[in-house]
Subunit: 454 residues, 2 copies
Amino acid sequence: MLKLNFKNSDISVIGEENGLNIENEFNNYSSQVADIIKSLNQRKDKPGEWLQWMNLGYNEETVWYVKEFASLVDGRFDNILVLGIGGSALGGLAVTEALLKPYWNLLTKEQRKGLPKIFFLDNIDPDSINGILEALDLKKTLVNVITKSGDTAETMSQFMIIRDLLQKELGDDYRKNIVATTDKKMGILRQLADQEGYKIFYVPDDVGGRFSVFSSVGLVPFALVGLDIDQIMNGIKDMDLELKNTDIHQNIAAQGALINFLMDRNKGKNISVLMPYSSRLKYIPSWFSQLWAESLGKGNLGLTPLNAVGATDQHSLLQLFNEGPNNKLITFIRIKNFDTTLEIPKIFEYTGIGYLGGKTVNDLMNAEADSTIVSLIDYKRPSLTITIDKIDEYNIAQLLYMFEVQTAIIGELYNINSFDQPAVEQSKNYIYALMGRAGFDGSVEVLREKLELV
Amino acid sequence: MLKLNFKNSDISVIGEENGLNIENEFNNYSSQVADIIKSLNQRKDKPGEWLQWMNLGYNEETVWYVKEFASLVDGRFDNILVLGIGGSALGGLAVTEALLKPYWNLLTKEQRKGLPKIFFLDNIDPDSINGILEALDLKKTLVNVITKSGDTAETMSQFMIIRDLLQKELGDDYRKNIVATTDKKMGILRQLADQEGYKIFYVPDDVGGRFSVFSSVGLVPFALVGLDIDQIMNGIKDMDLELKNTDIHQNIAAQGALINFLMDRNKGKNISVLMPYSSRLKYIPSWFSQLWAESLGKGNLGLTPLNAVGATDQHSLLQLFNEGPNNKLITFIRIKNFDTTLEIPKIFEYTGIGYLGGKTVNDLMNAEADSTIVSLIDYKRPSLTITIDKIDEYNIAQLLYMFEVQTAIIGELYNINSFDQPAVEQSKNYIYALMGRAGFDGSVEVLREKLELV
């Protein structure tokens, strides 16, 4: 059960200059918000609306196939290596980092109960590709190459290098070490998977990369490292039901969307900070950054997402949050129950740190979060707090799905299309031109001219 | 040799609304900037100016002691575990991630040439502390506890837990597994190190945490994992000499400082993005974020630092950079020569990705950076490009020291004190109050009242 506390963004707490009269605003926007929620749920099955991600919680067939595949390869691989970038990597990274035991890839096979390590290669840095090849035994590695279009230059370059090495090491058996996740009907990866005989999973139509975490894009890696994908589905379904509620007073995704929107438009808070108080959730802000940057950054509008982690960044960003420009709305994520309760021993009792003995680091984590929130109030800076009961499949799925719905709602409030990314297309064409892809040489002249300036 | 290219922030490239007339501005500010540089170099030895970090390149005595200690413990430990937060962790993390082989902690002992793995525990998350205790054999771990004040609650809590476990596992010998880095004269850690007999290194006076990476705070871990700290010193010294040049036309730290300052004040670019095109440099923006957030975030002023990594974040943040609010100045870091040249094999020749075969991922990385820069020009968004020859001790030290000097200069341009962090003190007092530290109970009432709102 996710909770959202928005009182610390209210005028009653931080004053009129920086706070919203939230109850009034909920009433002002109640009918517009209700219309948005109704419309999203009505349009979701319509082709071309890019809302199929709202149906992913109900995709039992995919869940079945993914589980079947995971049980088929169970015990055969020491490593899962995901090749993907952007939406093909960030969701998987965020969820596995949250749900696997911390330092998973450093644990022994026994500590991992025989489950594989998992790696996300989401860059084309030659040194780091070379590094992972040195660190992993490819023969014992299942490579999951993920690109919906099938021709993402970064991912397919990685794949060409690794597919070549696999074949050299394993001969014809190399194809058993590859699973492809791509479009059902088209694209080069689809074609290669058929020709070469890789296991294949499909990204459903009308699911954009940044909304694909609960499609096969995420589910395949999750199942391979032993996460409970049924509980993930349950989390999404229950949250989806909650968020179908058209009453803004009852709908936390709509509340978060409206408060972020109004804080930007009326109060100059155009930076949206996401700060979980948990190291395990550290990549959720990275996933969220892509979700908001690509969905909302349009027409000179959009909130700039900023990643943080508590308590760590109290020693980095808090000075700026408190006393820098008052242009941020900070969303905290707090964990009610950590898996571990860790006591600080009663040693050094007669020194200045004796007061810590007998307390737990859980107490300290809570004290840090409380203190940060109160100090923000002192400086009249707005914040929201999301609380989740514990870090597990059910709750993490709820959290991410809630953010997705929130994104769709805030996009409608800005009156923009949240599901395209027009401003990255030209850059892709430039890359193709520079790399000599046929049909793109038209850009080369323009590019060279501009590059001289660089 | 670091290079800074600022043409893509000039009006001649991106127009008057978003660009600066850089040549004119250099001339306008040349005498003010010269005065700032002169003044910093004159004041640096004065107690209380917090400029002693400008002398760290010349601290041969510390280098000698650090190397002696590293050779003394050589081969004795499998792991280095750094306990620290903020400035006691971020520099070490950024530099070791950049300079050690990628995936260092996953390599075998042979691949690491017998050198230890290294971990930075910079949070108090109970699950992740528990996780690292499960992953590491403490008996084979050298614990470097770093806190200048000696009473940082997060670090000392970690230390109390781990010191207690070490004693249980090793008996009286536990002290051989501990090295403390703290203030020379005062603090609880200083006192404990004396009483219990830990090896100790000192953080020099007048070096703040965020400027401490080249003091023993960083040098001890660097030497322990085999980095060449003499080359680090050479990098700093040569850069320091360059940056003593009072002519802004010859001083890249001053150039970067002035352009960032004017972009904020005159052109509304109050977000400063740092985006290295290298996975190995991924934590340098995190280090830089603390440097700028704590140094500049004062009096409702200051630039908000935003972390990015190329090419990865082209698939995450580029849409926002190009088409979102035009409120960012992006600084790229480009590597002229990667350690590795990695060719993409000529396979799949007759498919749509055939054009990639025979190229290198190095080519692709460069094409991606070029394309991003040009697409930013298309959208009239300013950028700077820093180029470094290669990733090694000398160049990384130059880069970080340059950023430190740049921070000192831009602080003077804003006319603020870059070396304090007043807005985090109240939050610390709240933490002490909530944790029951003697003498801080005065805050408890205030706090409880405000917390009811949460």
